[in-house]
Chain length 83, copies 2
């Protein structure tokens, strides 16, 4: 089966978020009144596997080994089948 697994990596609350702060400042300069901006990254990994559980297990491993820093990052995993 073919799968697309969407991994969203975001900063844990309370961590310094310079990109969000800069974005907020730019929006303010453009005339928008915004309270805050969070920035996160989404990795969509296309792979083959036998079951959804196998994909989820691999995605958890990938997060721990590559995508997320446990000190400062949270992550969510969403698996979808594809044709």
């Amino acid at each position: 089966m073919k799968y697309a697994v969407k991994i969203e990596v975001s900063l844990k609350p309370g961590h310094s978020n310079p990109e969000g702060e800069t974005t907020m400042q730019l929006l303010t300069e453009l005339g928008y009144n915004v309270e805050a901006v969070d920035v996160s990254k989404v990795y969509t990994v296309f792979l083959e596997a036998s079951t959804v559980v196998e994909v989820e297990t691999k995605a958890q491993e990938m997060c721990k080994r590559l995508f997320a820093n446990p000190t400062k990052d949270n992550y969510t995993i969403n698996v979808a089948e594809r044709k």
Copy 2:
């Protein structure tokens, strides 16, 4: 009303995706067999407005003025109310 608007900016298909290619290579080196990796960015903007339509209109404007490059980027907008 308070809103959180989630703006996801991704590369249009066919555009060069060096970050995705590097990520795929790293996953391969770690022993995973993956076909491709797409990378996109999510900006969550927290703001106040009167209606959902007002938030959507502002978010569309923000994409055109700041977040997305029309030559190479696609974007999606999701508005959620918050307390």
